[in-house]
């Protein structure tokens, strides 16, 4: 028995199931799956450039008979959806498992899309764990189903499953079914010309019918009888909340949620007085059960938006008359200051963001002007990563953030639409590799007049410091070729490329001013290692209270180490990054900050 997070259990489950190739792009809450697999040196594990490439790597491996797994966050599956749906057409040889880690509540994402719809869209079977034991067990079934039914299998987890630890009995031993992968010529299966794809579609429909039979006896679709006045169909972590909120009800827990076991559901529904579905996000189970002609409710009282918990399930059910009122709860304490996430002390993004804030007069945007629309002096399109935090006060430097790579295309679109102001796109190094390159090609090809800031902190920081094609280290810790962003941009045709030290405020300001004046695509690579990668801290800065005029200019950096008590600014020595940063020292008008 061991305590494993859902992600650790998925990784161990895949390893014991004989996975040979694993690929992923980091994304919360999926990242730890590949991180854990990469530790096993008898498999191949890679950080791919993006989720689409990761999917294609896993598909290729599957075609040779190797067992392959690809993992990503929910929005990653949007990026990978083209090959994912194609994989449903071609089918598999070696088991191919696609893990989608959804993020209800948007803990660390840009949306809370419900990826169960992808199973229906792609016509593939889907499995959903309710805890880490399920995650481990389902992974074994996933590979077997994939091979038996010639289909990729979608294994859908959520933040609360992936990032919760529970007890796992890891019963299996690793066995590899096909130690010598071999590719066999099979044009009808792999070459999706119309003449082949149409017959493959017909096979997919037959496959779904066979899967619908299979799921009727699937061991992790489980009925637990309790009182017959209420029957609850549920899956995923919602099962745990429902069990706790309704200790006496009858339950149908679905481990396989596409296709659905229609006979089993009908039988269950027939033996209870009232049938409800408790599920997170969309009424996926509910609508499909209703389509079977079964009377069922759920989303009439269970929220569609956000993560569930026992509290929400209980309160919603009280509202629907399913549970007795349990009395009033104590409200949260009022008037407490919030503690939003901030860029770290010594973050290499802080300096360039300060420069963008001051050159773009961004703080003015926060002043309320009778609700009149405000035009930023400098339009700044953003991206996904730690630097998204710069959208928050006091830096306030982003006008858009939607998905990886989007800022470059958006910047070009704004410029081409004819805005009067200069447009700057901000992107990270890992994200630039992920999907910024194509945007840059577009901007150069279409002769845009935009400035692109590549904040190169030498890692994929926000998800916990994963390697990427620019770092020169592989997912399994091997030294490898490091793609050089500067040469890449030059090869694309960018003429004005500057590489500037992320901790040199003067150089950043002058460089940015120069780029903004240029009538061409200008790229600034702002280079400075993520402070979390540098263990050594020396000489924390101090404020000389004699010299300090209490102008609070340094506080506008938003550095967590710079604090104030009774009107006097001080620098918390245990937080300050010291010599590697010195941005506050460079900025202080009174020269009151020094080592």
């Amino acid at each position: 028995m061991q305590l494993l997070s859902g992600n650790e259990a998925l990784a161990l489950g895949a390893y014991h199931s004989g996975v040979q190739v694993a690929s992923a792009y980091p994304g919360t809450p999926s990242t730890e799956i590949l991180e854990n697999l990469a530790r096993f040196k008898d498999i191949y594990a890679e950080w791919s450039t993006n989720e689409k490439v990761a999917m294609e790597v896993a598909m290729g491996a599957s075609y040779t008979g190797a067992r392959a797994m690809v993992s990503m966050k929910h929005v990653g599956l949007n990026v990978a959806s083209d090959p994912f749906i194609a994989a449903s057409y071609t089918g598999t040889i070696g088991g191919l498992v696609v893990v989608s880690a959804d993020d209800p509540q948007i803990h660390s994402s840009q949306n809370e899309q419900d990826n169960r719809h992808y199973a229906r869209l792609a016509k593939v079977p889907m499995l959903e764990p309710t805890d880490s034991q399920d995650a481990y067990d389902l992974m074994g079934y996933a590979f077997d189903i994939s091979e038996e039914f010639d289909t990729p299998v979608l294994l859908r987890t959520t933040t609360r499953i992936s990032h919760s630890k529970s007890v796992v009995d890891a019963k299996r031993k690793r066995t590899v079914k096909n130690p010598q992968p071999t590719f066999y010529f099979n044009m009808q299966k792999y070459v999706m010309l119309p003449v082949n794809a149409l017959p493959r579609h017909a096979l997919m429909e037959k496959r779904l019918l066979r899967l619908a039979e299979y799921t009727e006896t699937f061991p992790l679709n489980v009925i637990t009888w309790g009182r017959r006045d209420l029957g609850i169909v549920t899956s995923g972590v919602a099962y745990q909340y429902a069990r706790e909120a309704f200790p006496e009800a009858s339950f149908l827990k679905l481990g396989m949620t596409w296709p659905l076991p229609e006979k089993m559901i009908k039988e269950f529904a027939g033996q209870v007085n009232r049938l409800i579905v408790i599920e997170e996000l969309d009424p996926f189970l509910q609508e499909n059960i209703r389509a079977m002609g079964i009377e069922v409710t759920g989303k009439e009282f269970i929220p569609l938006v956000g993560e569930l918990n026992t509290q929400i399930v209980t309160e919603s059910s009280i509202g629907a008359g399913l549970l007795p009122d349990s009395g009033k709860l104590l409200p949260p304490a009022q008037g407490l200051p919030r503690r939003p996430p901030l860029l770290c002390p010594g973050c290499p993004h802080t300096g360039i963001y300060f420069v963008l804030n001051s050159l773009g007069q961004r703080s003015k945007l926060l002043e309320k002007k009778n609700g009149e629309p405000q035009e930023p002096k400098l339009i700044i399109t953003g991206d996904i990563g730690c630097y998204t935090l710069g959208a928050l006060p006091p830096l306030n430097v982003l006008d858009t953030t939607v998905c990886m790579g989007a800022g470059i295309g958006q910047a070009l679109g704004m410029e081409r639409a004819g805005v009067r102001n200069r447009v700057v796109a901000v992107i990270g190094d890992s994200t630039f590799m992920h999907s910024g390159i194509t945007g840059l090609v577009d901007a150069v090809y279409n002769e845009g007049h935009i400035t692109i800031l590549i904040l190169d902190n030498r890692t994929t920081a926000m998800t916990g410091h994963q390697e990427h094609p620019g770092t020169g280290i592989s997912a399994q810790g091997q030294e490898t070729f490091a793609v050089d962003i500067e040469s890449l941009a030059r090869g694309i045709g960018v003429k004005d490329i500057k590489v500037i030290n992320a901790f040199d405020i003067k150089a950043l300001r002058n460089g940015l001013k120069d780029s903004l004046d240029r009538p061409e695509v200008s790229v600034i690579i702002v280079r400075g290692s993520c402070v979390m990668l540098i263990r050594k801290r020396a000489n924390p800065r101090k404020v000389d209270t004699e010299k300090c005029s209490q102008c609070n200019y340094c506080l506008s950096l938003g550095c967590p180490a710079i604090q104030s008590a009774d009107g006097q600014v001080f620098i918390e020595p245990s937080l300050c990054a010291g010599d590697i940063c010195t941005i506050c020292e460079q900025l202080c008008p009174q020269k009151a900050i020094s080592a």
Partner: protein, 201 residues
């Protein structure tokens, strides 16, 4: 078999996640069913962190229902107030006196709550709350990062778990170079709270 539902909270970087990991593993070694879950949001450093740890004969949800937390272990005192409404009536709170002002406080936009306001927030639900100078003690020991293990020592006095199991799991989870100092921090936390417990419970 007893059960215990607790929240461990603090600010990113204080070692909340490691602490709740150690609690969970200790509970597992003691034969409990265990679930634990962390909510970090986008915080790498400096944001609010909260872990739910549940131990009992059988645990369903990894998240504890509001108003049903048996014990609140807070590494920072504003965070204690923030989660005070999760405590059950008569629950226990152990609060490190340390204050880490959020940015809005440093910028003068918000006020950091006074100690008596934090106490009042807890008092709505319980009289059994204890302030300890964990950060001060950890500094005395020579490594402020031992705070989390000191706080575990405080918590251990109330936990249905054996001291030897704690020591074993702490030793397993921490690298050798910081093992001894952390075991000392654990003992200090235990001693700090033992007197309190005899006096109050």
């Amino acid at each position: 078999m007893e059960k215990m539902d607790l929240i461990v909270t603090g600010v990113g970087g204080q070692g909340v996640v490691l602490a709740s990991d150690i609690i969970s593993e200790t509970a597992l070694a003691a034969g409990f069913d265990v679930k634990k879950t962390d909510t970090l949001g986008m915080a790498q450093r400096g944001g609010s962190v909260v872990s739910h740890v549940r131990m009992g004969p059988k645990v369903w949800s990894p998240l504890i229902q509001d108003g049903k937390v048996d014990l609140l272990l807070a590494f920072e005192k504003l965070e204690a107030a923030r989660w005070s409404h999760h405590l059950r009536p008569g629950g226990i709170a152990i609060v490190n006196k340390y204050e880490q002002p959020p940015l809005s406080v440093s910028l003068g936009q918000d006020k950091y709550p006074a100690d008596k306001e934090i106490a009042a927030a807890l008092k709505r639900q319980t009289d059994r709350f204890h302030f300890v100078d964990g950060t001060g003690r950890a500094k005395e020991l020579g490594n402020v990062r031992t705070l989390n293990i000191f706080m575990l020592g405080c918590f251990s006095v109330f936990a249905p778990l054996e001291v030897e199991t704690w020591r074993e799991i702490i030793s397993r989870r921490l690298p050798e170079n910081i093992r001894e100092i952390n075991l000392t921090a654990f003992e200090m936390g235990r001693k700090e709270m033992e007197g309190v417990r005899i006096g109050k419970s």
